[in-house]
Symmetry: C2
Subunit: 439 residues, 2 copies
Amino acid sequence: MPEIQKIDLAITGAHILTIDEGMKEYNPGTIYITGNRIVWIGNDTEQPENCKVHEKIDATGKIVMPVFFNGHNHASMSFLRGLGNDLSLDKWLNDFIWPAEKVMINPDTVYLGTMLSVIEMIRSGTGIFSDMYFFEDQVARVCEESGMRGIIGEAIFDFPSPSRATPAESIQFTRDLHKQFINHSLINVSVSVHAPYTCSPNFIRQAGELAEELDISANIHLAETNNEIETIAGLYGKSPVQHLHDLGFLSERTVAHHSVYLTPDDRQLLKETGTSVVTLPNSNMKLGSGACAVGELLKSGINVALGTDGPASNNHQSMLREIQQLARLERVVNFDPTSISARELIRIATINGARAYRLDKDLGSLECGKKADFQIINPDQPHWYPRYDPYNSIAYAMQSNDVESVIIDGKIVMLNRILVNIDEMRIFRELKKKAGMLF
Amino acid sequence: MPEIQKIDLAITGAHILTIDEGMKEYNPGTIYITGNRIVWIGNDTEQPENCKVHEKIDATGKIVMPVFFNGHNHASMSFLRGLGNDLSLDKWLNDFIWPAEKVMINPDTVYLGTMLSVIEMIRSGTGIFSDMYFFEDQVARVCEESGMRGIIGEAIFDFPSPSRATPAESIQFTRDLHKQFINHSLINVSVSVHAPYTCSPNFIRQAGELAEELDISANIHLAETNNEIETIAGLYGKSPVQHLHDLGFLSERTVAHHSVYLTPDDRQLLKETGTSVVTLPNSNMKLGSGACAVGELLKSGINVALGTDGPASNNHQSMLREIQQLARLERVVNFDPTSISARELIRIATINGARAYRLDKDLGSLECGKKADFQIINPDQPHWYPRYDPYNSIAYAMQSNDVESVIIDGKIVMLNRILVNIDEMRIFRELKKKAGMLF
């Protein structure tokens, strides 16, 4: 008689969208999880024998798909959400964001602000985010407490940051974080360079070398606004992309955020070096920056992922809204309703993020052997009817609240809209108190 | 002793955004309703004496504001939502929408499809919609059963419609509807001309005259795509706006939908005649049509309202998403984050709709004497924290599900997310059955 396999968690009866290479579906389908990994996935009728299931979720009538991968965030800036909107970027930064950051950024507020964003992310089906900010050890703490997966990156630039006095200190801190979290199941570390216009060539080069030495990803704001293009042209006589390339910063480990203003030569460089792009449509729209030519990037063979950006410039944390925004923005800038498909959009929001950060061996799709990171969606809502194609419903009509449960690293972090590890009301209360004290 | 006044319904403790001319707020505030009208509104501390309150909702900590006014819809097209997306407009219409409409459009499907959209609208805070489609008597039936407010308009064009054999019949049917619903508290009738390119000059003129004779609004799709501009230029040697003006169709009773492609002369004509524009950002984006220059229209002094369009080209029915989309679209096309403010956006989605359809004496803001149409919003959600300004939270971060209760015409139609007059699950089941039979 074969040995009995112990299954920690089983999901059955679901319409499973695996988002694997062939976009395979199982309906009704089953996922078996042991520890933090998927040990079996397939049709309900083909469940393996000799399995002893510890905990089971009956997901009949539900849709199961990978969690969304939020490719770029400044999560703790939720603190500043709604502060001085409807202003020019200059005024907003000079009169509101920077003075506020000076007063408020400390380990406590970073912890609290990140926790708030993590609440919002989990509630809308996001299971991993890449963060660039200060006191990133606090972001790691939030991940550990909430069960969220995070890629943490202490922002590096040429001024004293609220957390570190010099860029050299930020680089050293990145090294320390890497050491601390190596082999951590939930936390990865990335080298986070703020932007070509805030960081000297010397430190950009050092940061790129650090990423290579530690064999981790590096990420940077790149070609976000026309201002930046002019600044870098004035300083170095070239495009920001060319500038980074000449400093050896672009490679398969590099993730470029925004990339709204690219020349054909820039695209060619990104493609040749294997650099990924994270597009942030709602942030680019809200700040009036412009539209990233996602269709062109995809056609060039560049890996494009998706993110929310920080809550202060968006103003939300739902990847679903980014998917739905990208769908519409891409169509209107091209005057073409065929310019991007629902299936492409959902790959951009899941597996492409994992690929950008070189985590696709473990994350981004539901396959046997991968980590168990997925969401259970309840489509019994008016906007889901009729349902000719689930990808279309997700890309155009689904709402964030339709996410019923979220499993990360094999563990249930939200069950039937209840967050398992977080006392939301306490976070809201503390946040109200802190924000009220500041303004 | 003064007479005791009977109050049917009182809302207390709320942060009330009246959206009146001065954007007055009461916090905490009270609304007293008798019959279908607001008989008192003010601060909690100033409640009038000698009132006997029949039913009371304690809205402490909640936000109360007018329901959203959905200025343009084809509500029953929810039946076709998600059918053949990601296609060119031609292919989508020829291979999917038109064949499907031939098979499916009958009084039963119009009733069912409209009911589905009404469920979605109420659930996201909309309390009135303007509808252009077929079998509009069924749309009126849905309004009466659900408690929703509707402006119904039987589509007039030069081909046999699914409901009427000739445009003359559609015009006669509009006359009949007007007679039937005159003085109905929930239902208004509008003359709905499909578009300049589907309706002969003769019938456009007749339709305009009918609106004038009955003293009701007239509405039409106008300058939606570049194709239309070229077609009308070819047929009549002028712009669609000029064409309608020459036919006497434009006036203060006229509402023009889309208006993406306007010349400065067109804008001048709209302004001079007092024509209102309904902008439909998500639909224009999803179909790749273009962006309506809302800022320019407002600067010209044109009244701009907002709508969802039909669920087949959107694909949802939440006005909140239109507000948030307009905020972003306007900013990105102008490369300017100051181009539209949160307060303007919320006026566009409420009082401006009422003004467009000349219903602002009764609707669109919360004032003593006006009809009691408002929503109660629960801001105790992560995306509402912190809350520096409620208009900003609504315009950028709020989610449709935050709408907790909806009152229309003085009657509670949704209480704590439960629809009072509609058996949702029955509607979902029937819709599934009917959609399944067709495809």
